[in-house]
């Protein structure tokens, strides 16, 4: 066997610094090109994102200013407790989200496959993917955390050191759970590849159980004294478990509280500043040590883990037809047979795509849990009605994200397989109708159930429940019509990724129109009902009996409102569908 050959003079191995600089340059180019493409090609989407983010930020800022002012008046310690609770739950979420994002980026992406065949250190590839995962996992924290922390500074009348230390403290903090997620991911894949799913499931289940126990004990301890002083005291006693001095979340909240401390003259407190810098150093030191550990682990475990995963044989899974499949296929009747077969196909794809049904389950499950907890609080009748309508809007908004994300791209994705459907004796209209039915039937069952749960928990009268259910039916029809109609009107046949199709112009338009439709239906249906209940509760001194408000809250106003929402619902269903059907008939695949 001959000895190693020296490489040609033209090539050489890079130093660690050179590799890092090269990847930073690559990231900068990719980010720049992505932003440029968005500015040039998706102005509407970008403007909407910026505008909605600004609105969201402003609304959160206002909310937090009010909340902190209220809590500051109660007791200053409460704020520390809440900050600790917020940061510790965020820490747990960041560990999981970074770990999962790193798993996808390091072991399942084509980029990783390319980079591992180049003369680059494993730890450099890890660092490259870690930066990406850290950003994707923590941008939500920036959006949610920054208005909260700025509001805290404003309420406490903090001096400039607080604002100067805000970003370094946040970055040093998020790096710690992210590095822990990276370490967990590298370790699991390299040494326990077969157990990784079980380990992750157990950890998630453990965290969920802890969160449910905490939530249950906070909300369900008593039903009669909700929001009373005793209730607050018991709730805060439960939250005290998040105030562990070994948790980075405690270092962050302590650093922030110290940095916000001022002298009576309003100048920064020297002691507070020194303490804040001490906590920042503690966070930085820990994040750097964990990054070093993660880098070392990547050097010895990344390629080994990649090889383990690449060598896994996917389990062969036999699938049987479900009960609904059998019911739909079973009938020998020729009527609607192609439609039924298309429905069964979509149902099977939905069932076998974990990303679809898991998100469906998580969002609607959380919503169900929230509705179930509504009975813990006592509401006046008019406010209960308003909360019922708000819950209806929330159900509609969640359904609209699903119809935009999963239903809108369906026609585009079907278009890519047009050669299959094109050769079958299926009329194109039937494809569009099958998507509409799939969306409507899939949406109406859980939504109607959730609305009923919400209204029952709020103790609303049956007339109001019937009205909410009717609006829910219209929302399901309209949202399905918008998503399927626009999907057929503006198919993107060259794109294979549903998320990219949903985030394009058509998807954004679908989401905007859906949101507007929900607002119209809920507001038009809510105003007369709310006025009617308000007049009944507060009497004629508030609402004049012969005024416009009284008319709106009377039988005529209610009938007009009902007619308007019906027309809006039918129009949102029929107009996009008709337009989509027409466009899809003319489509050349």
């Amino acid at each position: 066997m001959s000895g190693p050959t020296a490489p040609r003079e033209a090539v050489r191995l890079l130093t660690l610094d050179e590799e890092s600089r090269l990847f930073l340059r690559l990231r900068a180019t990719l980010v720049w090109e992505t932003v440029r493409s968005m500015v040039v090609g998706s102005r509407l989407r970008l403007s909407l994102v910026v505008m909605l983010s600004g609105l969201f930020w402003g609304a959160l800022y206002g909310l937090f200013v009010e909340a902190f002012s209220f809590l500051e008046a109660l007791h200053a310690d409460v704020i520390s407790l809440l900050l600790n609770a917020f940061f510790s739950s965020l820490m747990v979420m960041l560990v999981f989200s970074t770990g999962i994002l790193l798993y996808g980026g390091m072991y399942c992406s084509p980029e990783a496959r390319l980079l591992l065949t180049l003369p680059v250190r494993a730890e450099t590839v890890f660092a490259h993917k870690f930066r990406e995962a850290l950003w994707f996992a923590s941008w939500g924290f920036v959006l949610l955390g920054s208005p909260m922390l700025v509001a805290y500074g404003v309420v406490r009348e903090a001096a400039w050191p607080y604002y100067a230390l805000l970003l370094p403290l946040m970055i040093a903090f998020v790096t710690i759970p992210a590095a822990l997620g990276g370490i967990a991911c590298l370790t699991l894949v390299a040494w326990m590849p077969r157990l990784r799913i079980h380990a992750l499931s157990l950890a998630v289940a453990g965290c969920c159980l802890l969160a449910i126990w905490l939530g249950w004990s906070l909300v369900f301890q008593t039903r009669t004294d909700a929001m009373s002083t005793a209730w607050f005291e018991r709730a805060f006693a439960r939250l005290a478990i998040t105030e562990q001095k070994l948790f980075p979340s405690w270092w962050l909240s302590s650093g922030l509280i110290e940095a916000a401390r001022t002298q009576p003259s309003g100048r920064p407190s020297a002691t507070g500043l020194a303490e804040a810098v001490k906590f920042l150093s503690l966070l930085l030191a820990n994040s750097l040590v964990l990054l070093l550990l993660a880098g070392w682990l990547a050097r010895i475990a990344y390629r080994k883990g990649y090889s383990h995963l690449a060598g896994e044989v996917p389990a062969r899974r036999r699938r049987r037809a479900g009960l609904v499949d059998r019911l739909l296929i079973g009938s020998d009747a020729a009527v609607g047979r192609p439609l039924r077969l298309l429905l069964v196909k979509d149902l099977r794809l939905f069932r076998r795509d974990i990303s679809q049904w898991s998100q469906f389950l998580i969002f609607f499950g959380l919503l169900g849990l929230y509705f179930f907890n509504l009975r813990s609080f006592n509401y006046h009748n008019a406010y209960a009605s308003m909360i019922g309508f708000l819950n209806l809007a929330v159900v509609g908004l969640i359904l609209s994200t699903f119809t935009t994300r999963f239903i809108y791209p369906m026609i585009s994705l079907e278009g890519r397989r047009f050669w299959i459907l094109g050769l079958l004796p299926v009329h194109r209209d039937q494809i569009v109708w099958s998507k509409f039915l799939f969306s409507f039937l899939g949406g109406v069952v859980p939504c109607a159930g959730l609305v009923f749960l919400s209204d029952s928990m709020l103790g609303l009268p049956w007339r109001l429940i019937a009205l909410h259910e009717y609006c829910c039916l219209l929302l399901c029809l309209g949202l399905s019509g918008i998503a399927v109609g626009l999907g057929a009107r503006m198919p993107e046949l060259r794109e294979s990724s549903p998320s990219k199709i949903a985030s394009g112009f058509g998807g954004t338009l679908c989401l905007v129109l859906s949101s507007l439709f929900i607002m119209v239906v809920v507001v038009v249906a809510a105003i007369p009902t709310h006025l009617f209940l308000l007049a009944r509760t507060l009497g004629p001194t508030v609402i004049a009996p012969d005024g416009l408000l009284a008319w709106a809250g009377g039988p005529m106003g209610m009938a007009t409102s009902l007619a308007t929402v019906t027309v809006a619902g039918l129009a949102a269903t029929a107009v996009p569908l008709a337009s989509g059907l027409q466009a899809f008939r003319r489509l050349e695949a």
Binding site: M1, S2, G3, P4, T5, P7, R8, A10, V11, R12, L13, L14, E18, L22, L26, T29, L30, E33, T34, S37, P110, E111, R113, L114, L116, T117, L118, P119, V120, R121, R303, K304, Y306, S307, A310, G311, E312, V313
Partner: protein, 245 residues
């Protein structure tokens, strides 16, 4: 240049590659043939370091691909069956990224990039984002990137997929020229005509085992079917009643 030393790779209970020993000298074009699931792609993934052998070792230019992957990769160019590019980089930016990754001096890299762009006729779209490329254009760019640093070993996994006839001709001419200059090519393919036309030696894998190793002439002698095509020999060898190693 390339040495497989008693290499085996198992996937659970299944043996994908069994005790593969193979040495490919400098300047040889070696074609690995075999039916689907024979172990060709596993062998290639082990050769480029994406998979570690369960047993045995693989060396490229004397460097063990598991123990010292970076040193081994410095000698290798790899064209995978599915081209991977950055959608938001132009073709030229991608080539610069690869040149920088191999530590090539700027002036030399510039010349090489121009050379490969011209050779693979990429000039027209070299400054467009890769997201707008067709499969064939992507494949040509990956070829260009893999040859940028004049590798000692070129590893090709189904290299002609997606290429038009003109590009296929360019690749064939280029492989012929580069192997005559000393570059070693390890190629997995289903295109028997190409293997017959270009390969110095062929290896035929069946169910993880190298059932034949030699020239096409030697294969004819071994199978004792004079004057038949490589296709007939291949089918004979890979059929369930084919000869045993």
């Amino acid at each position: 240049m390339i040495e497989f030393d008693h290499v085996s790779r198992t996937y659970g209970l299944k043996t994908a590659v069994a005790d593969l020993s193979l040495a490919i000298p400098r300047g040889e074009l070696f074609a690995l043939l075999g039916p689907n699931g024979a172990g060709k792609t596993t062998s290639i993934k082990m050769l480029v370091g994406l998979l570690h052998p369960s047993r045995g070792s693989i060396r490229i230019c004397g460097h063990d691909v598991v123990a010292d992957p970076r040193a081994a990769h410095l000698h290798v160019g790899y064209v995978p069956d599915e081209p991977c590019l950055y959608d938001k980089l132009t073709g030229r930016e991608f080539l610069w990224f690869i040149a920088d990754m191999f530590g090539m001096p700027r002036h030399l890299a510039r010349g090489r990039i121009d050379r490969e762009i011209e050779c693979f006729e990429l000039g027209e779209f070299a400054d467009d984002l890769a997201e707008s490329y067709s499969l064939g254009m992507k494949q040509r760019l990956v070829f260009a990137a893999s040859l940028l640093h004049d590798p000692d070993v070129l590893v090709l996994d189904e290299p002609m997929v997606g290429l038009d006839p003109r590009s296929v001709r360019i690749v064939k001419d280029l492989l012929e020229a580069r192997t005559s200059e000393g570059m070693t090519v390890f190629m997995s393919t289903h295109t028997l005509a190409m293997a017959e036309e270009m390969a110095d030696r062929v290896g035929i894998m069946v169910r993880g085992q190298l059932r034949f190793l030699g020239t096409v002439t030697e294969l004819r002698e071994q199978v004792a079917l004079e004057a038949t095509s490589l296709e007939q020999l291949y089918l004979e060898l890979t059929s369930p009643r084919g000869m045993r190693p």
